[in-house]
């Protein structure tokens, strides 16, 4: 199982811990269905262009690691939000993200995507109010030789309207 190599951090300042409901706590460690992702050249080109980069660079834009893990996670955003009793209308927000590249990204390689929820904490911020801070981590492995290609770690904030 992917291991969280980051400690949860407070969002902003002045956060204090609150009791996490059991149904949310039960999501910690839950694995994503996972799947496969291939960085097709047209997607590599379009993503680089969307990021205002020069799409002709031979290197695949490292942002593609994030796109790959999202593309192969095996569930939709709505399904993921539902794991935490939330919907898009609740306004979940990315808190932090880390991409670690263990090996160069390439087009037309088939990558295996796997990962899980690594932590969940409930906090109350002076400005933010009540929210849950959830961390999840996804791994890319080259499907041909099993090599570890990238790790994408994310934290996401679910406002709880408190």
């Amino acid at each position: 199982m992917p291991k969280a190599h980051h400690q949860p951090r407070p969002v902003g300042t002045g956060t204090i811990s609150e009791q996490l409901p059991e149904d949310i706590r039960a999501q910690i460690g839950r694995r994503f269905p996972g799947g496969y992702y291939t960085a097709e050249p047209y997607r590599a080109w379009l993503l680089a262009d969307a990021a205002a980069d020069r799409p002709h660079a031979p290197a695949v834009h490292p942002l593609h690691a994030w796109l790959a893990t999202t593309g192969g996670i095996g569930i939709t955003w709505d399904e993921f939000f539902a794991w935490f009793g939330a919907t898009a209308a609740d306004g979940p927000m990315f808190g932090e993200h880390e991409t670690v590249l263990h090996r160069r990204l390439r087009t037309d390689r088939r990558y295996r995507v796997s990962g899980s929820v690594v932590s969940a904490v409930r906090k109350r911020g002076r400005a933010a109010g009540l929210f849950d801070l959830v961390e999840y981590q996804l791994e890319l492995h080259d499907d041909a030789d099993g090599g570890h290609v990238a790790t994408c770690w994310n934290s996401i904030v679910f406002p709880r309207g408190g």
């Binding site: 997607r43 379009l46 993503l47 262009d49 969307a50 990021a51 205002a52 980069d53 020069r54 002709h56 660079a57 031979p58 290197a59 695949v60 834009h61 490292p62 942002l63 994030w66 796109l67 999202t70 593309g71 939709t76 955003w77 709505d78 898009a88 927000m93 990315f94 808190g95 932090e96 993200h97 880390e98 991409t99 670690v100 590249l101 160069r104």
Partner: protein, 164 residues
């Protein structure tokens, strides 16, 4: 619509505290639409002005967080010579970027260590993205591979070079 910094990077001149040449871009609403399609991101705040207004977020679409991070990656690739030099980037999203904003990625080298595995050095960097004349929207840290002190100057926009 975008400005690429062209930098001659003298490897011998690398030092802790040096500023990474900034990288600027004018954020495009059209590119958010392509990104929504690529990411399969259904959130209408990235393309539908009506939805943005209904949420009280103003009248301009909100850029995707990944694109904000991508701009920082572009700055680092211009500095190192290739996207393939990036080893690690961690960012915290602090605020939204809106269509029509001009944003600037900036950074500073905070550490240099020898990297025998690629015959060069690792640079640790503090990075950020800010709306020009406005607030900082992202902060983070990065680790990038750089050629060794003996490697001499390299042109940052020579993306043909294979550094790994």
């Amino acid at each position: 619509m975008m400005g690429h910094s062209t930098v001659r990077r003298d490897a011998a001149g690398l030092r802790v505290g040096m500023e990474i040449p900034p990288w600027e871009v004018l954020v495009s609403a059209e590119k958010m639409k392509t990104t929504a399609a690529l990411l399969a991101d259904p959130n209408p705040i990235h393309f539908d002005v009506g939805a943005v207004q209904a949420l009280g977020l103003g009248d301009r679409p909100v850029n995707q967080g990944p694109l904000n991070m991508g701009y920082v990656m572009n700055m680092l690739a211009a500095f190192t010579g290739s996207h393939d030099c990036l080893r690690r980037l961690r960012v915290r999203f602090l605020a939204n970027v809106l269509a029509g904003d001009r944003v600037r990625a900036a950074g500073v080298v905070t550490g240099l260590t020898e990297a025998p595995d690629h015959g060069g050095r690792w640079a640790e960097c503090d990075v950020s993205l800010a709306v020009v004349g406005g607030r900082t929207v992202l902060r983070g840290t990065a680790t990038v591979a750089l050629p060794g002190a003996g490697a001499g100057a390299a042109e940052s926009d020579d993306h043909e070079e294979n550094k790994t």
